[in-house]
């Protein structure tokens, strides 16, 4: 099912949670709505589910306007951060709920519930109660429950937020698998960029009620369109300087070329630690630097590089490379920045 959202606005007591949001989602896509706390992403999701009514704007599900229809009418599957399982019902009864409501025959219910239990890998546990299973298992039940009545869209509100890191990782992969099997249009809300980058087809980055950028994970990561996106997604170095010569920003010994900005324009330039190329031998366009600090970060080493006159740059170097090149504190290296994004400060 496709989703079309036009000019959605939602205010609570004078606070604007969602500010003129519009976007399209095609059938079968797996979309992440990414943003910090308070960015309005959960509210947006709830509006699509029918749990909130927007002040202005429209929602169309498969071309049909559903802005004011009740959650019951929309047939969307919703998965809550704290599972919201029915504590007094068994897992079987939880999953069967949507079907019972629709007065489906008992044999059909049994068939469908068993199908779903297989899908979420919880076969054999159907007669347990939510209190008797783990957090990860509960969330899988919640997903199965939401999928029972074959909803046209699956909405997940920070579904893994309440779980341990390891379980989160497993469930992330699991959701991806599930999506590949069922092809249900899926939107999930998260503040965890790794989650979004890892599994989504497309990411909507939200901040202060607005969508700052829409794009594939690659686009969001490699080509941030606003300072917020550049800062929020992935790690970044940033520097602030003026356009001192036509199309050029000087920062110590490093030159950044910027096009289309007038002289004296104050600029903010972002570049990622992994776009900082470090070598022990001099190369063209590289500047000299000293390694001020090294830090072990698992699969990579973080180098703090001192580039003269109190200017520092953070670089991420794969562990193997660092070892082979003999990067230690105090050694002299050569640094080049392979990619950067410039924004005007105003």
């Amino acid at each position: 099912m496709s989703i079309a959202v036009r000019h959605l606005t939602k205010k609570f007591n004078g606070f604007t949670a969602v500010d003129d949001v519009s976007f399209n989602v095609e059938t079968g896509e797996l979309i992440a709505i990414l943003g910090p706390s308070g960015s309005g992403k959960s509210t947006l999701l709830r509006i699509i589910a029918g749990l909130e009514i927007p002040n202005t704007g429209e929602i169309h599900l498969t071309g049909i306007e559903t802005t004011l229809s009740s959650p019951q009418e929309r047939n969307v599957g919703f998965v809550f951060q704290h599972y919201a399982l029915f504590k007094h019902m068994t897992l079987y009864e939880n999953i069967a709920f949507a079907l019972k409501v629709r007065k489906v025959s008992r044999s059909e219910i049994t068939e469908r519930v068993n199908e779903l239990l297989e899908l979420v890998q919880l076969k054999g546990l159907e007669h347990r109660y939510p209190s008797q299973i783990s957090g990860g298992q509960r969330q899988r039940v919640a997903v199965a429950r939401a999928l029972a009545a074959r909803p046209r869209v699956l909405l997940l509100d920070e579904p893994f937020g309440a779980l341990d890191a390891k379980v989160r990782e497993e469930l992330r992969k699991w959701i991806l698998q599930l999506h590949e099997q069922t092809h249900v249009t899926t939107l999930f809300v998260t503040h965890d960029q790794h989650e979004a980058l890892e599994i989504a087809n497309k990411i909507f980055v939200m901040n202060k009620g607005r969508i700052e950028q829409e794009g594939t994970p690659r686009e969001i990561f490699d080509r941030p369109l606003t300072p917020f996106v550049a800062e929020f997604v992935g790690e970044s170095n940033f520097i602030e300087a003026e356009v001192s010569e036509p199309h050029l920003v000087r920062w110590g010994p490093i030159n950044f070329s910027v096009n289309g900005y007038p002289l004296r324009e104050k600029m903010r330039i972002y570049f990622r630690p992994n776009d900082v190329y470090v070598s022990s031998a001099p190369e063209q366009n590289h500047v000299k630097a000293t390694i001020a600090k090294t830090r072990f970060k698992g699969p990579l080493i973080e180098l703090t590089l001192h580039i003269g006159e109190g200017k520092h740059v953070i670089a991420h170097v794969p562990k193997g490379v660092s070892f082979t090149s003999g990067f230690t504190e105090g050694s002299e290296v050569y640094v080049g920045i392979t990619e950067y994004h410039s924004f005007s400060k105003s």
Binding site: N13, S37, G50, L51
Partner: protein
């Protein structure tokens, strides 16, 4: 409740007659009927009787009211009631704190038995409570002969009244404090002990401030129940006018002798105390809630 704000835009606005809660709530008319029935029930069963006490008490005018509550018998009853409360309440408070500390902060075998025993007067009829003391100390009772020989009067005298009141009201402070102390857990006290505080210091500086509102309410309720105890005291007192009548017993006597207004005048004293008790409970509740919400700074993970 979430207020409604209309965006001042050029875009068409939806007629937002619904708030978020009603998205998921009963239809309006159901709500109002339920509220109506509940309120009707409260008015009929609770509000009207309360009003009646005061209306009847002052039926013959304020002067008559003051005369009724200052007769020698009435004054004696008031004195006895105050004396009983003055003994029973502090004892029960000490017990309550002790029991709550024990049950909330420790685990030991037999804890359930203890809790059940503490709840006992709650399920035992007050008449049976009083009767127990008659069985113990009455003329035909276990210690009856011994007491008679030594000319010690417990039944049909003040000591009996005090004892049976203590029995009937001792759970109140404990029952108030146990859940509160269980809720606050043992972490703060453990922290104090680790920092070197002695048992008493820990109690006074750490535990007490946390339970102060619950304790206050427990004391007030225990007091109201002690002063208003009827069944147990009725059995034990002998109804000797001017000597072994508490305020409720005095009200009973006046009522049975058809001095209706006087009966209600006397009764209104304790009714007023009951209303004060309710007010203090509400205040305590609000303070406790405020306290709980400031210590629970759970951060929302972006749910807005």
């Amino acid at each position: 409740m979430i207020g409604l704000q209309y965006a001042a835009g050029k875009l068409p606005e939806h007629d937002l007659m619904v708030t978020r809660s009603s998205r998921l709530s009963e239809p309006r008319w159901v709500r109002w009927i339920v509220i109506g029935i509940s309120l009707l029930f409260v008015v009929v069963f609770l509000a009207v009787p309360l009003a009646l006490v005061f209306v009847k008490a002052f039926e013959k005018g304020t002067e008559a009211y003051f005369m009724a509550v200052t007769t020698p018998d009435a004054l004696a009853a008031i004195k006895l009631t105050l004396l009983t409360a003055a003994i029973a309440v502090p004892l029960n408070v000490v017990f309550g704190i002790s029991a709550a500390w024990l049950i909330a902060k420790f685990n030991f075998p037999g804890k359930n038995v203890l809790t059940t025993l503490i709840d006992l007067p709650f399920t035992v009829s007050p008449v049976i409570s009083g009767m127990l003391f008659v069985l113990l100390f009455g003329l035909q009772g276990v210690f009856g002969r011994w007491l008679d020989e030594h000319n010690v009067k417990i039944i049909f005298a003040v000591p009996g009244i005090v004892l049976s009141t203590i029995f009937a009201t001792f759970p109140f402070v404990a029952r108030e404090l146990i859940p509160i102390m269980q809720l606050s857990g043992t972490e703060e006290e453990e922290a104090a002990v680790v920092l070197g505080a002695s048992g008493w210091k820990t109690f006074f500086k750490v535990t007490l401030p946390n339970i102060k509102w619950g304790l206050m309410y427990g004391i007030i309720v225990c007091n109201a129940r002690a002063m208003g105890e009827f069944g147990a005291v009725s059995v034990v007192s002998g109804h000797i006018r001017g000597a072994t009548n508490t305020i409720p017993l005095q009200a009973e006597i006046l009522y049975n002798e058809y001095h209706i207004t006087a009966a209600f005048s006397v009764a209104s004293l304790l009714t007023f105390l009951a209303v004060v008790t309710l007010i203090i409970k509400k205040v305590a509740e609000i303070k406790i809630r405020r306290q709980a919400s400031t210590t629970n700074s759970q951060s929302f993970t972006g749910t807005l």
